[in-house]
């Protein structure tokens, strides 16, 4: 049975652990163990999940066939390449890398290692709302797509200090808006014009907000927002509006939230079955075990990274970018 290890057990690492536990219970994999630079956290979680806590990344690699990397963007490349060196399949969180050179290096190395599978967690492609939007577009139900408005935002993450350091995370565009950017490139194709602004490029950002205008080769225009709001009361929310010549689709996660709980605190729930993260992880595992092509191929993750970095450059330089003008 395929032996899988998880590296990084923070916020998103914990989500992936749930997926791995589920796949293990279905007899698809053996969830061997975890490694986290924070040793006490690693041991706590290992006890909770009844898996091994490895002392080092190297030790974990020796004991697995595939590794799930849920680690900060700026340290991703080294760990991905080390896994390739050891002949291990890799699933990595998005973005592919912090800069284009790193992303290209990963993809180039992958071309030499034809037997290895590599997937980047552009999980939006597995969310049922987004599956529906894509199906409606590709089936022609909406006609020719003229414009889209896309929003994703929350209070700035309270976990992981590295998010707030632009050099490490790339801010709200590279960490959050890349979800929408990747999805829309996946659905609509190539981008031609980019004009973006964002608010924070420092080491200790208190907030970040991006407004992005895109023009696609298809003739469609797009307005994409990514929000990390300072106020902790700001809810996690995503919205999509797609305008086509035949119909328009509008979606707002807040108004589609089925459960609201009012106690001293205030909370809501938006459950899924199947859970999109688990669906994505299953695709990764089935790719390794049965050779079934998944929805996210490495080249498209590189393309999303490339466009996202051009968007950041547009925001940093306060300048419109035309794709094809040179590199991002």
């Amino acid at each position: 049975m395929l032996k899988v290890g998880l590296v990084g057990v923070g916020f998103v690492g914990t989500i992936h652990a749930c997926s791995l536990k589920q796949l293990q219970s279905e007899g698809l994999i053996d969830f061997v163990g975890i490694y986290d630079a924070n040793e006490s956290r690693s041991k706590d979680k290992a006890r909770k999940w009844k898996v091994r806590s490895f002392e080092s990344y190297e030790e974990l690699l020796k004991n697995v066939d595939a590794v799930i990397l849920a680690i900060p963007s700026h340290v991703r490349k080294e760990m991905i390449l080390r896994a390739f060196d050891e002949g291990k399949h890799v699933f990595s969180e998005k973005p592919l890398a912090r800069c284009l050179e790193d992303g290209e290096e990963i993809i180039d190395r992958l071309k030499e290692e034809r037997s290895l599978k590599f997937m980047v967690g552009h999980v939006l492609r597995y969310f049922p709302e987004y599956e529906m939007i894509r199906d409606r577009i590709l089936s022609g139900d909406l006609g020719k797509i003229a414009s889209i408005r896309s929003f994703r935002g929350s209070a700035i993450p309270s976990w992981g200090k590295w998010f707030r350091d632009f050099k490490k995370s790339g801010g709200v565009i590279l960490d959050l808006a890349i979800h929408e950017i990747d999805f829309w490139i996946w659905v609509l194709g190539d981008v031609e014009n980019i004009l973006a602004r964002s608010l924070s490029f420092g080491e200790k950002m208190e907030y970040d907000y991006a407004q992005i205008l895109l023009k696609f080769k298809s003739g469609a225009i797009a307005h994409i927002e990514g929000a990390w709001v300072k106020a902790s009361s700001y809810p996690f929310r995503f919205m999509e509006e797609v305008v086509g010549t035949k119909a328009c689709i509008h979606f707002d996660s807040l108004s589609s939230t089925p459960i609201w709980i009012y106690t001293e605190d205030f909370s809501s729930d938006y459950p899924y079955d199947p859970v999109p993260y688990a669906k994505m992880m299953r695709d990764f595992i089935l790719w390794i075990e049965e050779g079934k092509e998944p929805r996210i191929d490495p080249e498209s993750a590189l393309k999303s990274l490339d466009i996202t970095l051009r968007i950041i450059r547009s925001a940093v330089e306060v300048k419109e970018m035309k794709v094809g003008d040179g590199n991002g």
Binding site: L195, Q211, K230, G244
Partner: protein, 328 residues
């Protein structure tokens, strides 16, 4: 009894004529003399529908009134100002005041020379939602405003609105000026730069653009404005004016015309949102009347109309040139 303003209406071409005439006819601050229209058939029909007097001869109407509201097609505003300025104390002109800056300047010059006040109909300033929004912004509750995302979307309007000869343009001509005026007024700053992303048309049969998103700089604040006619035919409402203000301390989201309830028809497949918010057209007209009666300066001047038109003119230039354009 308080003094009344004797007022007439020039043309009934614009959709707003239908809401204005009810206020002019019914609100006690007005003595509504009647309507003149260069399209006699349209004017007669209009006067019959609302039970008001129709004047075939403009001069007969002008002899009896102190003020007029010009509600004609966009390109006819200059002609109608020429015909009325000097014969009345004040003119309230429908938005956009003109289809280009040169024409707006001519109109203002004529009014100044003939000592007639001219105001622009930007009724959204009178919305209690906008007033409250402005107070929050001025109170500093969300800190300094760092970025603004706005929309003024609608359905494709009927008749001459989509005729370039009469409207002077499409969605950009129709829907840029309201938001531009509100932001100029609230922030007491001018727009410096504009870039218009115009996508392929949603309604392919139209001769004018219906799909546009702008990037603007209000002083140094980046603003995006979606001014499209992107609401489909079946949309339950006319459209929207929305803002998202990103502040250094928080975020404020505003949907100016959200005070609605939903009506589900049982005879046909039709759903509507019914607006129960305040009547901003009435507030606009009553304030205009009070100021004219007291011989005060108008709240929304012809210059305000001109500055909004400057943004529109430059947005078209940007779309033509495919780049950011400076406003001055």
């Amino acid at each position: 009894m308080a003094e009344k303003l004797r007022i007439g209406m020039i043309s009934s071409a614009h959709v707003h004529a239908h809401s204005y005439v009810v206020v002019l006819r019914d609100n006690p601050i007005f003595e509504f003399i009647g309507v003149w229209d260069d399209d006699v058939e349209r004017g007669l029909e209009f006067s019959k529908n609302y039970g008001v007097r129709f004047f075939k001869d403009l001069n007969e109407l002008l002899e009896e009134v102190e003020a007029v509201v010009i509600v004609s097609e966009n390109v006819k505003h200059l002609e109608h100002v020429e015909m009325t300025a000097g014969k009345v104390k004040a003119i309230l002109c429908e938005k956009p005041i003109a289809v280009n800056v040169e024409t707006a300047e001519k109109m203002l010059k004529i009014c100044a020379e003939r000592k007639t006040k001219i105001g622009t109909a930007f009724p959204v300033r009178y919305s209690p939602v906008v007033q409250s929004m402005r107070q929050v912004l001025e109170s500093g509750r969300i800190g300094n405003v760092l970025m603004i995302i706005s929309t003024n979307r609608g359905k494709v309007p009927p008749g001459w609105f989509t005729d370039p000869e009469l409207a002077g343009g499409g969605a950009m001509m129709d829907h840029i000026v309201h938001v531009v005026d509100l932001l100029r007024w609230i922030f007491k700053r001018e727009f410096e730069r504009v870039r218009a992303f115009v996508g392929d048309n949603i309604n392919e049969e139209l001769e004018v653009e219906d799909n546009a998103m702008l990037y603007l700089e209000l002083g140094d604040i980046p603003v995006t404005l979606d001014c499209s006619w992107s609401k489909p035919k079946s949309y339950p409402y006319w459209g929207d004016v929305t803002f998202r203000f990103i502040g250094s301390e928080g975020v404020m989201e505003v949907d100016v015309f959200r005070q609605t309830m939903t009506r589900y028809d049982n005879m046909e497949r039709k759903i509507e949102w019914l607006y129960y918010g305040s009547n901003i057209d009435e507030a606009l007209l009553v304030d205009f009347a009070k100021r004219v009666l007291r011989d005060e300066e108008l709240f929304i001047t012809g210059e305000d109309g001109l500055e909004a038109t400057r943004v529109v003119e430059k947005a078209y230039e940007s779309a033509r040139l495919g780049k950011v354009v400076n406003l001055r």
